[in-house]
């Protein structure tokens, strides 16, 4: 995307009588209150069944959204191949379970990081357009996966992966994995040199180059990190469905991008955090949960998420 910096229009929504800078905060509080109210008047929202299933399904998307956050923050907008990477990783995981649980998990994570890492290397060293590279990888992953698996999913009878389905201290493991991922990601972004460099690259790549920051290396690393979190999601999903299948990741890319945006991360990069993404994931899940409890169909959920994404975008506007 071009850098269409446009000094005059920074803030999106204007509310007469409210100072410019207070608008997002005001609207956000109103939204927050509305959500609290909606949750409060929704019967059954706080039932343990609802909370547990909401938190579990949220966690799976959430890990991919955390992965996407790295890509977005570093100025590489989106990757459309994280879902496909996830699917391919479930296959690798399942195919390597014979070697034992942890070696297989390790291999799967390495595989996932390698796939996204290659993407990052191409984007970083050659400065190729990240969106196009991700679309190319999407096709390549599907093609190669279908070739390698003879076009079939993998359904081993092994049950080792069941350890990832249980609970610890009453909390579902996916939720714990998601929470750990968010914290780890946030730590990587704000407490490591690489993370901070990534944000600087997202804010202004030329300035980062001029400052002597290793732009190609950092971008490669960013994608590797994205691969790690995608891989974690892949392990969780493969465990739940006891299969490796190219279908597992379908639709996750869009869900992840939606969460990144709803969390208030700047889609152009340079501003945002993993915590924000977690907020976005939570917001979307709550809205979906409320809709379902009120008996709306799944198709209404897509519409609702679309409207929220639009609202949040209007709220934040471009770089301020």
């Amino acid at each position: 995307m071009p850098d269409i910096r446009d000094q005059q229009r920074t803030m999106a929504l204007r509310i007469p009588g409210l100072p410019h800078a207070a608008v997002p905060a005001a609207v956000r509080s109103v939204l927050g209150l509305a959500m609290v109210a909606a949750v409060a008047v929704t019967p059954g929202f706080f039932s343990s069944i609802n909370l547990l299933s909401l938190l579990t399904s949220m966690s799976l998307v959430g890990c991919v959204a955390v992965a996407m956050t790295f890509i977005t923050l570093s100025g590489n907008i989106v990757s459309f191949s994280l879902g496909a990477t996830l699917s391919a990783t479930t296959i690798v995981l399942m195919a390597s379970l014979d070697h034992g649980l942890w070696p297989a998990v390790g291999l799967a994570l390495l595989f996932s990081m390698a796939i996204t890492g290659v993407q990052g290397w191409i984007v970083g060293y050659f400065r190729a357009n990240p969106v196009i590279v991700s679309l190319a990888m999407l096709s390549l992953i599907y093609g190669v996966a279908n070739w390698a698996t003879g076009g079939r999913g993998i359904y081993p009878t092994a049950t080792e992966l069941d350890v990832f389905k249980g609970r610890v201290a009453g909390l579902p493991i996916p939720l714990l994995a998601f929470a750990a991922s968010v914290l780890l990601a946030q730590g990587l972004l704000s407490l490591t040199r690489m993370g901070r460099h990534a944000i600087m690259i997202g804010a202004n790549e030329r300035a980062a180059t001029a400052a002597g920051i290793d732009v190609p290396g950092t971008i490669t690393w960013v994608y590797v990190a994205a691969g790690l979190f995608t891989g974690i999601a892949a392990v969780l999903i493969a465990a739940r469905h006891a299969s490796g299948d190219m279908e597992h990741g379908i639709g996750l890319d869009y869900a992840a991008i939606s969460a990144v945006i709803v969390g208030g991360n700047a889609i152009e990069g340079g501003r945002g955090s993993a915590l924000r993404t977690a907020g976005g994931v939570l917001t979307i899940s709550i809205v979906q949960g409320v809709l379902i409890l009120w008996g709306f169909s799944t198709s209404a959920q897509a519409l609702a998420v679309g409207l929220i994404v639009l609202l949040i975008l209007l709220l934040h506007g471009r770089r301020s």
């Binding site: 995307m1 071009p2 269409i4 910096r5 446009d6 000094q7 229009r9 920074t10 999106a12 929504l13 907008i77 989106v78 191409i122 060293y125 050659f126 400065r127 190729a128 357009n129 969106v131 196009i132 590279v133 679309l135 190319a136 990888m137 999407l138 096709s139 390549l140 992953i141 599907y142 093609g143 190669v144 279908n146 070739w147 076009g151 190609p216 869009y254 991008i257 939606s258 945006i261 889609i267 152009e268 169909s297 198709s299 209404a300 959920q301 897509a302 519409l303 609702a304 998420v305 679309g306 409207l307 994404v309 639009l310 975008l313 209007l314 934040h316 506007g317 471009r318």
Partner: protein
């Protein structure tokens, strides 16, 4: 305004793909046939307008994720409203497409937010609407004679659908080349703030481009639905990747300011020839994906900003290694 070489590239690729297939075919007549040409043009009828829609938006320096959703929504509207008068259905769908495009663009220019975000919202909203409109079922279009008519061969290789696509390219291509608007569009994508200062009505250009793009998508979607005698909230055809591939092979750049309808037509033809060619040769399906991915990756490499520098470094490293080797 666009250098000849940029326009020539897709057509060179086209020639290369053509020759490659002709050789692969080895005179078995699977590829070199009128039927393949017809098939290429049929695919072009769907992909061409989509690629043009996306390409124009990309020339303006934006991107549109919503084309798949808008396409299926338009198809549903056309089929639902066009039972009695097919033209009416198309008109309604095209109008809707224009409105959707314009609405998204207005959201962008009024607030300065990026098109990826807005059109992601647009995609979700369009598909949500399509589900609601159809009650989540595929709706049939009873007028089989219309379906037959839009796809019936004309002069062997064309059909009403592909003729429409060709006409769209001719009209927009000519308009782009001779009118001021083409230049204004390139300027809008090439340097937004500069164009604004120079007096180009940038916001209007964006709204207009998205509206036209929405119309093209809707037209493609409704004709496709008529031709298939069905409309479905699940897109009837994969739209985003083919359109992106076609536009990019056609010399459009994701960073805006580059490309032309003629180039996009070439890119769309490359894509259609590739897909139809592979089908006609009966190649395993995974090879389609690999071919498309490989092509896209190649273009990504060729257009990469740092390619020259990387090659230079590579050469230097090579020199050093070789130099050491001989010493």
């Amino acid at each position: 305004m666009t250098p000849i070489s940029a326009v020539a590239r897709p057509f060179c690729v086209l020639l290369a793909v053509f020759v490659a297939f002709a050789l692969l075919d080895a005179e078995q007549g699977r590829f070199l046939s009128v039927a393949t040409a017809f098939s290429v043009m049929q695919l072009f009828a769907t992909i061409g307008p989509l690629a043009l829609a996306l390409g124009l938006v990309m020339i303006a320096g934006e991107f549109d994720l919503s084309i798949g959703g808008a396409m299926s929504l338009a198809g549903c509207v056309a089929v639902l409203l066009g039972a009695d008068h097919p033209a009416l259905g198309i008109a309604a769908a095209v109008l809707l497409g224009a409105l959707l495009g314009a609405a998204q663009a207005i959201a962008m220019v009024r607030t300065g937010i990026s098109s990826i975000g807005v059109t992601l919202a647009g995609l979700l909203i369009c598909s949500g609407l399509a589900y609601m409109l159809t009650g989540n079922t595929t709706i049939g279009y009873d007028r089989i004679e219309v379906a037959t008519a839009v796809n019936a061969p004309i002069l062997g290789v064309l059909s009403m659908r592909s003729l429409t696509a060709v006409a769209i390219f001719v009209i927009l291509g000519a308009g782009f080349a001779v009118s001021r608007l083409g230049r204004d569009l390139v300027a809008t994508g090439s340097g937004r703030a500069a164009a604004r200062t120079a007096g180009v009505p940038v916001d209007l250009m964006l709204i207009g481009t998205f509206a036209v793009s929405g119309m093209l998508v809707a037209l493609s979607g409704s004709l496709l639905s008529y031709g298939l005698a069905a409309a479905s909230p699940i897109a009837l055809s994969d739209a985003l990747v083919p359109a992106t591939v076609a536009a990019i092979i056609g010399g459009v750049s994701l960073s805006g300011g580059k490309g032309s309808p003629v180039g996009i037509a070439g890119g769309a033809l490359v894509f259609c020839l590739l897909r139809s060619g592979l089908i006609s040769l009966g190649v395993k399906p995974y090879l389609h994906d690999i071919a498309i991915g490989g092509l896209l990756l190649t273009v990504a490499f060729l257009d990469a900003r740092g390619l020259e520098a990387s090659l230079y470094r590579l050469a230097r490293t090579g020199e050093r290694v070789l130099g050491r080797g001989t010493r």
